[in-house]
Each structure stands twice: as structure tokens, then as C-alpha cells.
Amino acid sequence: MDLKIELDRIGFPMIYIEHSKGSFYMHWLPVTKIQLEYWLCSGSVNVFDARWYNEVMDYNPRVSPGYIKSDNYWESFVTGILPSEIKQFIAWLGRDYDLPTDEQWQAAYQTLKKEAADSRYIETLTGVGSLNRRAKTIVKNVNISVGEARFEARGGRTLADQALMRLGVMEYVYRDDRRNTYGGYGQPNPTFFGTTETPDKGYPQRLIDEHEGAKMPHYGFRLIKRVTGS
């Protein structure tokens, strides 16, 4: 499979996913704390101050890209955040960005799961000229760390695993086409958060408050970017 790559406005990679109901780009990895920090420092947010961000990091501390290892790589990603807060980040990132629907997330997972993991995908991603330098380190080090992590999923390691759709974090998705309710897809590393969830069961995890979500240490997100015209 040839990866078609685009960068978000911060320079983090997104990959092209072909989908019958409209193709899209999806973040290669869940959204990182570095991406969130760009937003927090953009001057467009007042409510989300240092105290708010410290609370987010209380759920899941921050690891620097150069210090990512198999027992902490999930600390790169934003968790402990509400969907309503994510929406403000999305509004800053650009009009074509959004959370994926459960159908889009599952379509991406099924597409990537068909391909065996391969280091050349990482070489392709990190070879993009204008990639953010810290994103490059994260992509490389997360791949090495997850490769080292004990991998229990059946069927061997796939491209979906390299993209951390398993052994990453739980990710918010929309559960309905009107984008009013939320669920979760993914499979966190059990050292980080023990759960029996797996995307292979084919439907997202239900939340108690499906309209608001909740701040949870293992719940993060990745975004899609609509392809213009689709």
C-alpha cells in the first residue's frame, strides 16, 4: 500500500483513507500534546489556561519526543479531555477537520489492518520534507516503542497497529451521523489502562454520558480532514 500523506497545519502527518462515503485524511497517530500546545499558544483561547492544561496532564503526564519508550509512549498523546474541548481545538485547526464517525474510524482500521507492519511506512512518513521536527521524532520513537511492547493482538502486527489504532489510547468518535453523540474506539496498552475493548469487535465503546463524554485518563482522539469536494 502506498501511503498518501498530508500534514495538518502544525506539520503532523495525516494519511489518506479511501472510503465509499467520501474519502478523508486521518491523523497517523492520536493527537499529541505538542499539537494541543500549539493551539493553547495560538492566542485564540483564553479559557484553556495553564491550570486547565495542568489538569489535563494530571490524567496522563507529558513525555518529550526524545524520551519515548515502550512504557510511556502513550504520554505523548492528549487524553483527559472532553469532546466539547476537542471541538474548540478542531475549530482552530481548520474547517475541514473533525472527529471521525465510528464508521470512518472502523473503515480506516479495516483498510490499514489488511497491510502487514513495515518500517518503510515510517520511512515514508518521516521523509516528508515539511514534517514538524518533533512529529518526526514521535513517529519514529512510537513505532520503535510499540514494536518493543508486548503485542498480544491476534494476526500479527499490522499497519493499523503501527498507526496505534491498537495499543494506543481509546479515541473519541461520533456515534451518529448528526454528530451529537460520542463513543470510543481503540485499545489502550494494558500497562497504561486495562480494558477488554478492541476495535475488532466492530462497534465503539458506549459512554455513560454519550452527549458530553467525560474526562478519562485513557480517552484521547485523532482527527480526520475531509478531502475537498468529497
Binding site: I34, E37, S42, R62, G94, D96, R134
Partner: protein, 485 residues
């Protein structure tokens, strides 16, 4: 807390009295101030001798920008003040009636600088709004010692200068400046006289009236001009442009190649072109080139109705926007950019601002290069490069992060951070080349530790009990000796 330049008189201030400029008493548009607090506005000086096509280019460009929504999703242009709104209306009318510009009717004799156009451009090349302030300055002003003083302020503010040259008029008209080097010399001398140091600016040479020099331009350049997908954008149907949406990566790649061809053309085929390039390099200017024709052909005063065929008029703007959003790479090895980052945390008021350290550090650092000042945890400079920051403590605390500033800096940039608190993302840069280029000034009577017992190598403790000025000078001297030693 941001210090913003009044677009009309260029006085930098915090606008304590709302929207009214404390110097010229003009009411500055609220939209301008709001946008400027998020991203520094982009001040452009468009400089060119009469009849070289400067005003025609600006009008043609604005007419093209007006229709950018056809090729860039969500893009639109708005005027931010009444004067600009009226100007836009006139430009639209003139173009719809196919009237040629007549600069002499637009500008009374002896008036070399028009009221700036203050515009907001959304969703082109970034999702942000760009606030553009365009100063149209007649080249003739530069040769007049008294006159140029009046235009000093816009020239000091402008980071990018469009140097408009009609090579045809330069060689054919009876002008006292007959070569590119002559023109450049008169501009830089004028700028220096006005106290606007030309050193380190982005200089974009725009060859206008390409239709008059088709016999001189290299074939690659001619082909590039003729293949403009966005020629006469105003007249093109959005449907026809559906498959020709603006692709920044490929367009910028072509733009760069064309600039390289024009550099060669200037060097080898333009009279005194080599002297011009050498002079610009001596001033450490980042030089780029573009070529266009705003009208696509000749027009004469007795032919008031003309068919417009503008070609490649967007290119100077794309160069300028690249500069503005930091997309354009620096000139490796020749940079002298220095960035000063100021803490905004609780303790900074007493330890940094009351000691007037922003001024002291700015002055000391300015001896080594062009200083740009940021508040910690912000993405845009608090003030234009080369302008002294305020010693007033900011009203709001920002996040203690510097990564988003470092990520956008060009190679070789030196950074000095004044901080009274922990920097949340410094560890991200611990194993990078920033060790040699990033200095941290602390106020805790010990060096800055990135992790426990792991000090940042270029960390200096500032003793608040000593005289700030001499201490700052010593610190900067030592840090720069370390860099160059």
C-alpha cells in the same frame, strides 16, 4: 498586552485608549486590533518609480485576491477601514469598466505616499486571517532628503519590500536612474537616511510589464508567465476552476524555480544586475524575484478601454505570505536573527519587567543581529523584528512553552529566554542542536535544570541585586563568545 503599530502613522503602542491612536488620533479599526493581538499584521512597502506599473499591479493584484475564493476554499478579502473599502470599490468599478489606471490622476503632485490599504485575507495559504497593510511609496521620494523622512516609519515597519521595476521603462524612458543598481542604491540610501535600516529585510524584485520585455526574458520564464492558471481570475468561472484549485506545494515549487531563472536573468542579462545582486547580498537581504504583466499588453492614453489579461500578478503576494507565515527558508549561514523570549508568569513582573530587562536585553542583543521579541507561549512575535519591546508587564499569563516558537525559526537563529518558571517543553530540545543556540536566563540563583541534576548547558543566573545594564552586557558578551568561540 500586545504592542501594535497604528497602520496610519506607524506609532507602536498598546492602544490604551481603545481604538484611538495616541499619536495621530486616527480611529484604528477594531478588526485590525483584534487580529493584530493574535498575529502580527503584515506590513508591506511597495516601492517603485512613477510609470513602472506599481499602482496598476496593486490594483490588478487586489482584483485577483478578490476572487481567490474560486481557487482556495473559504478564501475572501475584506477592507478593514473606510478608506480601503472606498479604494476597493473604486478598483472594482474601474476594472469592471475596463478603465486603465492613470496614476497621475490618483495621486496629487508631490504626494509620494498614499493612505495605506488595510486588508484582511482569510484562508489563503493558512487557515488564519492575514492582516495586510500595504504602503504604496513612490520611488521619487527616496531621492529627496527632506521628503524621505516622512516615509521613514512605514519603511521601518515593513519587513518585506516589493521593489517594482519595469525593465523596459528603465532602459527606454528618460530617467535619471537608468539601471537597477542605480535604483537600488537610491532606495537603500534613502532608507538609511530615514533611519530604516535596510539590512536583513526581504527584498522582492517584481519585474512588471513582462509583455514589454518578451524579447529579453528566458524561454522558461516566458513559458511560466503564459501558463498562469489564474490569469484573469476575476473573469474565470468557478466551475472551470474546479479542477485547478490552488495547490500551495506545487505552486510554490514553480515560483521558486521561476525566481531562480530570474536571478540568472538579472545576473547575466540586466544592465548592472550583478552589482544590484551583490549590493543586496551585502545588505544581507533575502532576495527573490517574480515577473508579471498586470494588463497583458500595451495601452496608451488615447485608449481608455482596455482588455485586461493579467498574468502571474499573484506571485509577489505568495512570496510575501511565505515570509509572513515563516514558510520561506532563511539564507543559511548568513542569518543574524536573534529571538528574545520573555516570561509572563507571576514572578516575572518584579524580576524581569520592573528591572527593565526587556529593553536591556534587546539593546545588548541588537549589537549581534536583528532581534525579534516573543512572549513565552505565543506563536507570533509581540512586536515587529528590530523594534524594542515594552518594559510593561503583560496583563495575561501565557503558557510556559517555547516549542511553537523554536519550530518556526530558521537554522542558525540564536534564542535567549528570560524565565522565572519551568519551561514545559524544554526537554523536547534537550538532545538537539539547540544546546548551542538557546540560552536561558534564570532568576533562582542556580542554573536551569532540565531534569534533576541535569542543567541546560547555556544557562545563566541573573543577579537581581546587581545593576541590570552592565550585567546584561556581560552575559550577552559571554554567551556570544561561547557561540563563536
Amino acid at each position: 498586552m500586545s504592542r501594535i503599530a497604528c497602520p496610519y502613522c506607524c506609532t507602536i503602542q498598546t492602544f490604551p485608549d481603545g481604538q484611538v491612536c495616541k499619536n495621530c488620533n486616527e480611529t484604528v479599526p477594531e478588526n485590525y486590533l483584534t487580529a493584530a493581538r493574535v498575529n502580527s499584521p503584515f506590513y508591506m512597502a511597495v516601492v517603485g518609480m512613477s510609470s513602472h506599473g506599481k499602482t496598476t499591479l496593486i490594483h490588478s493584484l487586489i482584483n485577483t485576491i478578490d476572487h481567490l475564493g474560486k481557487i482556495s476554499r473559504g478564501a475572501f478579502l475584506t477592507a478593514l477601514d473606510d478608506h480601503t473599502a472606498t479604494e476597493l470599490k473604486l478598483i472594482r468599478q474601474r476594472i469592471s469598466k475596463r478603465e486603465a489606471n492613470n496614476a497621475t490622476t490618483l495621486r496629487p503632485k508631490g504626494v509620494y505616499l498614499q493612505t495605506p490599504m488595510v486588508l484582511s485575507l482569510k484562508s489563503f495559504m493558512t487557515d488564519n486571517r492575514h492582516t495586510l497593510v500595504i504602503y504604496d511609496i513612490a520611488g521619487e521620494a527616496f531621492s529627496d532628503r527632506a521628503e524621505i523622512q516622512q516615509y521613514a516609519e512605514p519603511l521601518k515597519l515593513a519587513h518585506t519590500i516589493w521593489f517594482i521595476v519595469s525593465q523596459h521603462d528603465l532602459t527606454h524612458a528618460n530617467s535619471e536612474y537608468s539601471t537597477l543598481a542605480d535604483l537600488f542604491n537610491i532606495y537603500v540610501t534613502g532608507m538609511e537616511r530615514a533611519g530604516a535600516n535596510p539590512r536583513g529585510r526581504n527584498l522582492h524584485l517584481v519585474y512588471t510589464k513582462a509583455d514589454k520585455i518578451t524579447n529579453q526574458l528566458p524561454n522558461e520564464v516566458l513559458e511560466y508567465i503564459r501558463n498562469d492558471p489564474y490569469s484573469n481570475l476575476a473573469g474565470q468561472s468557478p466551475r472551470d476552476l474546479k479542477d485547478k484549485q490552488f495547490n500551495e506545494t506545487s505552486y510554490v515549487a514553480e515560483l521558486n524555480t521561476n525566481s531562480e531563472h530570474l536571478l540568472e536573468y538579472t545576473r547575466y542579462d540586466v544592465d548592472s544586475g550583478i552589482a544590484f545582486i551583490n549590493m543586496a547580498e551585502d545588505y544581507e537581504m533575502a532576495l527573490s524575484f517574480s515577473v508579471n504583466t498586470a494588463l497583458g499588453g500595451d495601452h496608451t492614453p488615447n485608449r481608455s478601454q482596455i482588455e485586461y489579461e493579467s498574468l502571474r500578478v499573484l506571485d509577489p503576494l505568495i512570496w510575501a505570505l511565505q515570509d509572513n507565515v515563516g514558510l520561506r527558508p532563511g539564507r543559511n549561514g548568513q542569518t543574524s536573527e536573534i529571538v528574545l523570549i520573555l516570561d509572563t508568569g507571576y514572578n516575572s513582573k518584579r524580576k524581569i519587567y520592573e528591572q527593565k530587562l526587556p529593553s536591556h536585553f534587546f539593546t545588548a542583543l541588537s549589537q549581534h543581529g536583528d532581534v525579534k521579541t516573543y512572549y513565552i507561549g505565543t506563536m507570533a512575535p509581540m512586536i515587529q523584528s528590530g523594534i524594542e519591546p515594552s518594559n510593561a508587564a503583560p496583563d495575561n499569563e501565557t503558557q510556559p512553552y517555547i516549542g511553537m516558537i523554536l519550530d518556526q525559526l530558521r537554522e542558525g537563529t540564536q534564542v535567549v529566554v528570560l524565565t522565572c518558571q519551568r519551561i514545559g517543553d524544554l526537554l523536547d530540545f534537550h538532545t538537539s542542536e539547540w544546546h548551542q543556540r538557546l540560552s536561558i536566563i534564570t532568576f533562582d540563583q542556580r542554573p536551569y535544570e532540565v531534569q534533576r541534576n541535569d542543567p541546560w548547558p547555556r544557562s545563566v543566573d541573573f543577579d537581581v541585586s546587581k545593576t541590570p545594564a552592565s550585567q546584561v552586557e556581560k552575559i550577552i558578551k559571554r554567551l556570544f563568545e561561547k557561540t563563536h568561540g
